[in-house]
Subunit: 425 residues, 4 copies
């Protein structure tokens, strides 16, 4: 319902016009240094009203830590975070109450709850994402400290204006050029930083493309219209072995996380939809030794995940956002009672949510990988406590078969735990 | 881990070389007529070896109902279903043990579990999906009986060969033509049936496109290569109100479900990635009265879901599958120990998994909506038991505001439960 | 971790010295009239400092509704409730930091979290129960409105002073007298009200026993000591059919709920430990027609639950509380470092927590049955949507077998849903 | 519903007359040596028909490992275990169908599911516990290997015949004698083994008491009656730090686990109900250094758990079982239709289930602690990965305060992880 995760459990609360929005995080590791200064910056990045591209309302979302820390460290108990709503009027019961807003949640919330609240589909408001971003800032603090994980998202397209993606595969095409474009893409993902992204108002690190995106957004603003786009996100330095093999594959958790963000319409991991046209002998990522006794992959069409489990390479994915449903022009539609009419435009609205979506995409990525990490830590720790087994032919990859059809039982004294342990230092 | 759903809970078990694969389904409603004849057909549709386009091995997967039914009806207790593995050899410890297969799960399973089983990433095998398809057949039996739900998937593209999708949006383009193409698309989704789909070996209902798909697959086969594609799925007659508003939006559950299928790389709902280019005033779906006191939408860019909640329109989505990782040609890669080498090809492999993926996509869709339905039934039933409240201004959409800024408290005697109850008959 | 329930999900947060304690409730049915006035009274009943029997500190716990309601009705979205801590000092780093308090959580919290917070085992503090009591007040509001459920707890013993329990069974004893005592017990449970209980400071409705309890508590106070006791709780008007058949039997959920209250040491349902001495032919509760087409039971040794499922009779159970660990006398013990020493007494402490435990026991009972109810509502609603089956021999209890060894297939047109529906009007 | 645990997830299936009963275990650590020989013995101990005290039917429950192991080691994937039912007749549709059996689940299952199956409350049958015992044998294999955990249960009372429990507390009584009796009790729990228990048919290690228990059981058998009793269980060598602080206290999980066993009526941990009469200054367990840098407790009234968290001392608890509801004499009761009548006795039934309950109590204890252990391993592993913090006054118990009111910030370089790590080697 309103909870995400099984070991890093995030439960958000609040809608547009209640007293406060916030989150309770259960499962925060004890001993993490944590203060408001770790959380507020991401909330600020999420906040609207920062440039003339976004809606002018300044929500001034100041976070309060209600519980779970003492003297600047987490206790291991639930961390509750709260942001007060400044506008707590129970809503404006006028035209909005006659018309369900098209492509909004007003109508479906009424279908679901039988309740017609002033805030319409209150929980579907972007304001609900405050709790997510706050919870993710705590997760990120841990992920950075413990593993040096880096999660960076950026606007990859606005309408048809897009950061040059790799060309589509064609048997006839220049293979070398095809691979070069993918290499450039992987190189971009290797280097891009939040500083790069935030240096530009539209949060696209490619300044030329950013200029055209800005123009496209202003065009929508001019036309009292809205426009969608895509956000790309990369996760670097994530330990391998994360993700559960069956229903909770890491990409499935990420897809779940991303499609839970308001206004999203799609998700793709690694080569994604474009990859469906690349034949297997090209798409397969060959292994190479990385020099530290591990294996890496030469290419990364897989997007850092194989069989649902992280392999240590960079994870990257793309999320589609539709044009915002609230627009500054009137719309022909029907009232709740089914009468045809015109829903008048009211106020000015954000013509493009993409720049604000960037920290939310990063946030949901943090929550997904943090939960996967805590699950895998339990498995690894449990396996490491099994005493060495005298004969254990199927454990460890270092074991070499002597013949083709039967396992050679060797007393190698190696244990699952140790083998696993060495994987992600 | 290996469980999907919270009220319709599906737990699969089994890997390639163990005694059996199967599933335990907890939460099956009591009183559903159920026999092997309800489950076996979908397993047969999933089975490889049916045409010369798929791998020749015939697995003959006969399902056994171990528990949960009596005299042909479900008891409401866990339904356990089992399919024996015919090939239970603990695997072939030869070359496959030296090389982790590129873009397979062999390497990541070793990273995750510290165990190198003969079947490599055993749970990532398509064979694991038997349990899912069987569990979904039970869900479908209920969904059909209780709501007349129809779930139909088909192959929408193989490589670059694709069922003509609606054209991309462009401000300059012919708006009428743009809308006509989308209308054709929605019409196709309204009418397509499993019979249509199964009438063609590649499971694409458009015969001309199917011919070109077949050619593309045979080309891959010839080249000892593999090729990916996309599957589109439509869900019809689903009650409105399904999906939870925050993390468990219906599209998020569907995305989770789809990305948990082996070899998937992407998911999009409704207008999807193409929709990111459509401006808000076009993309918004205006409401219209449906004549039965409800509202429908004129267009369906939303894909039947708004704010994470089903609105009663058809739900449709697309899933991307990469080219199969197992190919019939040798590959340059590295051994588990990091030595460069060539993994020799062995046997013949399915050049395109798309046709077999169709029932699996349908299955995961069934599981996702069945779980969402049981959750919503609890909420509706709970609300319907609250006695009428004397004044209840925010309940029911039929209430009309008298003034613009304050709610008019009316003693309308209408209750949440009744209002909800009437929504999905 | 810090969440209770699967459909009525209660997540508490907060420890002694943080900014606030509280709770997020997910799964509250929409349309429930709810205000602070529904929650505050139970918090007041929980509050210490009300009589000279309890600790004098007045915490003045005022509840704030942060989210989930509008115009006095629940929205169906998460209800967040918060109570500020008045004393937010990060603790007193003196002697308490040298000594883990005996039979407190200071030592085990350090073992668990590796963190030594000023509040010791902060989450094990009775203050954490504020969130539970608040969440339960919301559940109770619904349970009362929708089903007329009544939950009443009272102090049944303090030390050796006890409300006369039924005599132990002995084959030699007077059977009539034995049954009479149980009948009196069941009669007491049928009639006792919260008003009766709150009319007496020790919250025992039997005034004579209450006088002796009070004396026992004052004796402990005098001796700078503490004393335990038991609380009995009865749940009336609960719909039948609640509780899951296997791991989540209703008594198992209740036991879980009760043993999660600080300082509890035991739980018994119905005849409980005394019942282990009663032979089967006496202990079995024979069925009788109740006149409305249902069955009741003549006796109620079962405590209203059979096979883990409520049968419509009153549910009653007993909870054991140990003497409070914090006492007003010094104690020989060891420091964290293992040095022998004397932990000096500090301040005055509540000699007996039993009276304050009464609303907490009621609260946890509410949470357990509310969750079980929402689960069963989903199952019932799902079954009721299955269309009538032509032949359905195993459905409905009204069907009569014609012969002893084979089922007679009759076309009775009765359906699971209808049969179930009539059970709990 | 039918699942127990969150990281060691056990899902059972099957009822009396279906094809098989069994269990799927998700979350088994990889690399555990496991074969049928690890599981069958506990199933044999659970099996009826072993002495003339139990029901003569020999079910011959042979377990099959369907998945999750290879070459004798667990893979980390779901382990599915199955036991075929020999008697798969869909039941005897005679008198049992007219009468719901008193204090059985026939009536409540009909209320819950609207289905009247031949096996009555099929899942409430003791046969369902086969899956639990099998799953627990796997957990025990791990617990023994990794931690040397020992779990031993025994019959502590049959009817009024009881293994001498410690005397009740009385201020007037001989304190020394009181403590001596508790010391004997704790000594008994320290030493008792499964071999001791199984050496006696009634599974009570005290032979004199066992003789009187046997007589009491035979008396019940003679009288065509049944009799209840209690089982005591001790868990030794459990690592400290297990159990979650709030709702999922270790004793709450144990209580949940125990009350989910058919026919149970009560649970008490440590001093239990008797402990409610012991004043705080006696009941508190003072700390003592154990010589290895840790603390133990001089007494163990707490039962090895404080604040819901294991402290490293022995955990012990008692479970109450009512007299079996199925008796070999006729009973006055009502039919499903509410007509008075006599339910005739049929066959011979087990007069006392206590000896068979012993392995089931052990099994549920294993499942509860295994799940708690995996949760804590994740937390410990996560904390251990946080790099040393320069100043961290609240971490580690070795830090000594310098003054009473303010923390002295010391750069101790000690980290949560290390402190935790050293706790349970």
């Amino acid at each position: 319902m309103s909870t995400f995760g099984s070991l890093y459990r995030v439960t958000t609360f609040g809608e547009s016009h209640c007293a406060a929005v916030g989150v309770v995080i259960d499962g925060v590791p004890p001993g993490v240094p944590l203060g408001v200064e770790d959380i507020q910056p991401q909330l600020n990045r999420r906040r609207p009203g920062q440039t003339n591209l976004t809606t002018p309302r300044d929500e001034k979302d100041r976070v309060n830590i209600l519980s779970g820390t003492e003297l600047g460290y987490t206790l291991g108990t639930p961390v509750a975070l709260m942001v007060k709503n400044e506008d707590q009027r129970p809503g404006d019961y006028s035209e909005m109450n006659l018309y369900p807003r098209p492509s909004h949640a007003d109508w479906t919330y009424l279908l679901k709850y039988g309740v017609k609240a002033s805030s319409g589909g209150g929980r579907s408001s972007a304001r609900e994402t405050i709790g997510r971003v706050a919870a993710a800032a705590v997760a990120e603090k841990y992920l950075t400290l413990a593993h040096g994980v880096e999660i960076v998202a950026f606007v990859a397209s606005v309408g048809h204006v897009t950061v040059a993606p790799p060309e589509g595969y064609s048997a006839a095409a220049d293979h070398e050029k095809f691979m070069k474009q993918w290499d450039s893409w992987w190189t971009l993902l290797k280097g891009v930083s939040r500083a790069d992204v935030d240096a530009v108002d539209v949060r696209c690190p490619d300044k030329d493309v950013a200029d055209r995106m800005r123009a496209r957004i202003l065009e929508a603003k001019e036309a009292q219209d809205s426009i969608g786009g895509t956000v790309v996100c990369v996760i670097r330095n994530l330990p391998p072995g994360l993700g559960e093999p069956c229903f909770d594959k890491l990409e499935a958790k990420l897809a779940h996380a991303m499609l839970s963000i308001p206004a999203t319409k799609g998700f793709e991991i690694g080569s994604g939809f474009a990859g469906t046209e690349i034949p297997g002998h090209v798409h397969n990522d060959p292994f190479v030794a990385t020099g530290d006794g591990k294996l890496g992959t030469k290419t990364n069409f897989s997007g850092g995940i194989q069989g649902g489990i992280s392999n240590g390479e960079n994870i990257y994915f793309r999320v589609a956002f539709k044009a915002a449903a609230t627009i500054s022009q009137s719309q022909h539609t029907a009232t709740f009672d089914g009468e045809d009419g015109v829903l008048a435009a009211k106020g000015r609205h954000d013509p493009c949510v993409l720049p604000r979506a960037v920290p939310i995409v990063e946030a949901m990525a943090s929550l997904a990988v943090m939960d996967a990490l805590l699950l895998q830590l339990s498995r690894k720790a449990a396996a490491s406590l099994i005493p060495p087994q005298p004969i254990n032919p199927i454990l460890t990859g270092k074991w070499k078969p002597q013949s083709s059809s039967a396992p050679t039982i060797v007393a190698n004294g190696e244990i699952a735990g140790e083998a696993v342990e060495s994987d992600d230092k």
